[in-house]
């Protein structure tokens, strides 16, 4: 007995959808907090419609067939949006695989009399949906990666604030490793701020940089040179004892750059350069 899978599925579409929805609603991991049942139903129906209209006896063996493009597109969309909404991969996986259960249940009822055909058809349907499942994971991970990339960008943005500590003095605390991309952001921010605020002294504080190797040093030297070209003086502060020893052993020459151990001493140095003086206010004599 030969079964036309397309016709069978078309005919039983409603039943499959009901079954699928029941499967999903029965599952403990259903996330009603993330998506309402109505939305879920609309989403499921759209996916099932696409699948049922595109599947036929010819292409059921081949999940890569262009006939399934729409289905995969919808599936990818669902998967990515789920990744963004905060679904776990397991929940997304269960969503797709519960469709398989629904279809298989329906097939079982329809092709009761012919075990061989039932087996062949079930096997094919199973394989097709498994490969859809794999596609879901791929796009799911891609969706997550996008989230991570965006966060990386955001971290790069927020981790390089330029602070105006005094009129004409900027401070830039650097936390974490300085790589080429970060140096670029640091340099751009710093140079722009020098222009905007008309500052003449910039303090680069590297207390939060875990290790200064030759690449980091090179980036620092470049930043200092660029600052000087803008007519401002650059002080590097926050050089810890172990960093100082390492830099010497590495053979990096920082002697052309003004360096200080702490931000406080750098600030004091900057005050001297600007001919400013910080003094304790004299208390009234009669209070003694």
């Amino acid at each position: 007995m030969k079964v036309d899978i397309s016709k069978l599925l078309q005919k039983k579409k409603k039943q499959i959808l009901e079954q699928w929805m029941n499967n999903q609603l029965a599952d403990e991991s259903l996330r009603e907090d993330l998506m309402s049942n109505d939305e879920l139903r609309i989403q499921s129906e759209e996916l099932l419609n696409a699948l049922v209209t595109s599947v036929n006896n010819r292409n059921i063996d081949d999940a890569q067939s262009p006939d399934f493009d729409t289905t995969i597109e919808i599936l990818s969309g669902i998967s990515i949006s789920r990744a963004r909404q905060g679904y776990s991969p397991k929940e997304t996986g269960i969503y797709v695989f519960s469709l398989k259960d629904a279809i298989l249940q329906t097939l079982q009822e329809e092709i009761k009399t012919d075990p061989v055909t039932l087996y062949t058809v079930s096997f094919k349907v199973g394989k097709l949906i498994d490969s859809f499942g794999v596609t879901t994971f791929e796009t799911f991970i891609k969706g997550r990666e996008e989230v991570i990339l965006r966060q990386t960008d955001e971290i790069a943005e927020i981790s390089t604030p330029v602070i105006r500590v005094w009129d004409g003095i900027l401070a830039l605390p650097i936390i974490g490793t300085l790589d080429s991309a970060r140096t670029q952001v640091v340099m751009e921010n710093l140079l722009q701020q020098i222009v905007d605020s008309g500052s003449s002294i910039a303090i680069l504080d590297i207390s939060g940089v875990p290790a200064v190797d030759s690449l980091v040093a090179q980036h620092l030297i470049k930043t200092v040179s660029a600052t000087r070209l803008m007519g401002a003086e650059c002080i590097i502060s926050g050089i810890r004892p172990e960093i100082a020893q390492t830099v010497v052993h590495l053979g990096i020459d920082l002697s052309n750059i003004v360096t200080k151990a702490s931000l406080a001493s750098a600030l004091r140095y900057a005050f001297t350069m600007l001919q400013l003086e910080v003094r304790k206010t004299a208390k009234e004599k009669n209070s003694l």
């Binding site: 290790a211 030759s214 390492t246 053979g251």
Partner: protein, 137 residues
């Protein structure tokens, strides 16, 4: 005689792998009670070598080992890449020599920061650098 107490292998393929690698070294260094200065020296040397591996060797494999020789404990790092290799190692070990646009302090600097330094390179096959830093070295 050197005894290996523990061994850890990490694959370095992109810039993002460098920070976890350094943190791993730090963990081991803290575990054997290495001082802060030696820790920083070791991590900086590792950072230089791993960057070289990424930049010139296209990434590779690193091995972090806790080793023991007599009473002294230390950390041995192996950097292995399958890159183009170094033609003239003597020249590469000189201060200020670089085929890239860097300061040219990576290899010679790293040698000064560790206690034992061994480099082997075959043109067309790749480069292997093995460094050891003793706890009180």
């Amino acid at each position: 005689m050197i005894i290996v107490l523990s061994k850890d292998t990490l694959v370095i393929q992109k810039e993002q792998d460098v920070v976890p690698f350094r943190n791993r070294i730090k963990e081991y260094a803290v575990k054997i009670g290495m001082g802060l200065v030696n820790q920083t020296k070791l991590i900086t040397a590792a950072s230089e070598l791993v960057r070289n591996m990424l930049r010139y060797g296209g990434g590779g494999t690193t091995i972090i080992e806790v080793v023991s020789k007599g009473r002294e404990n230390g950390i041995r790092l192996t950097f292995q890449d399958k890159g183009p290799g170094i033609k003239d190692i003597q020249q590469a070990m000189k201060d200020g020599f670089s085929t890239g646009k860097s300061l040219g302090l990576g290899l010679p600097g790293a040698r000064r920061l560790v206690n034992e330094f061994d480099i082997k390179s075959v043109v067309g096959k790749g480069t292997t650098v093995i460094v050891t830093k003793w706890k009180n070295g």
